[in-house]
């Protein structure tokens, strides 16, 4: 199905189209059975959603609100504000950490002759045999 026509179809459900667009859509609808089916589906979404959405709170809602107001309003625990603050700090620290790590990688690669993962992270290049060599361990 043509994306432009589908977009037009969705837009027609949200607001009035211009005369030209409406004419174009009507013609497309007359031509395409799949598009008509799509339109039926969208209409059905709206209709079903509206007809089934008449929610209300449990009885004596106003009593509960007034009771809470009398009790001093917000009785939520301190955990949520703490977690909010923690998340706020973590995001900033994490962002700063990523920037710092990238700067270190760029600096390491700039000062090394070859581009490798070990050079990027500033890890001294060592062979496996060297790692197990006691002399290397004492003086890497």
């Amino acid at each position: 199905m043509d994306k432009k026509v589908t977009d037009l179809l969705y837009r027609s459900c949200q607001s009035a189209l211009s005369d030209e667009e409406q004419k174009w859509l009507d013609e497309a609808l007359a031509r395409s059975g799949a598009l008509r089916k799509e339109k039926e589906l969208i209409d059905s979404f709206f209709k079903t959603a509206r007809s089934s959405h008449e929610p209300s709170f449990a009885p004596f809602f106003d009593d509960r609100v007034m009771k809470k107001i009398k009790a001093g309003g917000d009785d939520s625990s301190l955990l949520e504000p703490f977690l909010d603050a923690l998340e706020y700090v973590f995001r900033r620290v994490a962002a700063a950490g990523v920037v710092f790590a990238l700067a270190v990688i760029v600096l390491n690669l700039g000062s090394s002759e070859t581009i490798s993962l070990a050079n990027a992270f500033g890890i001294p290049e060592a062979k496996l045999a060297d790692v197990f060599d006691p002399f290397y361990l004492l003086n890497p």
């Binding site: 969705y10 949200q14 969208i42 209300s56 709170f57």
Partner: protein, 205 residues
């Protein structure tokens, strides 16, 4: 978990509610009285606007205890802000804005709690069901509401305001603090997502 919050419809004592709203006082009069310490006036405001707040909050969170808490919190915030409320946007719009923001915060908390494996306070389905009977929604509506709950919060808020509450694009944009173009594109994307989610069931039919 998504299913837990669905299709639990409380019985609202509409007779009592209607009796009390018959005072005929406008929002402005009720607010003025509430500012002067008249609790009964504020109670009238709660009764008058609770259905609109319920539509927003339950649309966003599903019918569950948390929705009731967020509904209460919405009115408490309004009560605390009475002295600063100038009436520029209307009580209903003001309350919807608070309800949407609190619901979005709650969805964020739900996500975080799921991530931290913390128990969900007040999400005991048994307790709620014992208090309120189930309403048998038709299968199609039930599936649609389940699908709406699977949408990301930013899409869900647009769907709730535009599709469920039938607000205009302009109003939705103002309530969410986004442009009308964003509302339209989010709604179109939400439709696509809903279609994708419901495709297997639509195929069965």
């Amino acid at each position: 978990m998504i299913l837990r919050c669905l299709i639990i419809e409380p019985i609202e004592d509409s007779h009592v509610v209607n009796e009390n709203i018959k005072t005929g006082q406008s929002d402005e009069e009720l607010i003025a009285a509430a500012r002067d310490g008249d609790d009964e006036a504020f109670r009238q405001l709660v009764r008058k606007h609770q259905s609109r707040v319920a539509a927003t909050v339950i649309g966003m969170l599903g019918q569950c205890l948390e929705a009731d808490d967020i509904g209460q919190e919405t009115f408490i915030r309004f009560y605390n802000a009475l002295d600063h409320f100038r009436g520029e946007s209307g009580v209903e719009t003001y309350l919807t804005r608070i309800a949407i923001n609190l619901s979005l915060n709650e969805l964020k908390r739900r996500k975080r709690r799921n991530w931290l494996f913390l128990p969900m306070p007040g999400r005991s389905e048994e307790t709620f069901e014992a208090r309120t009977p189930r309403l048998e929604l038709n299968e199609e509506a039930e599936l649609l509401h389940q699908a709406i709950e699977k949408l990301k919060p930013e899409f869900r808020s647009v769907v709730v305001l535009r599709m469920l509450e039938e607000r205009s694009t302009e109003e939705t944009a103002a309530l969410l603090g986004i442009s009308e173009g964003t509302v339209k594109s989010r709604l179109a994307r939400a439709h696509h997502k809903l279609k994708k989610l419901l495709q297997p069931y639509l195929g069965e039919k």
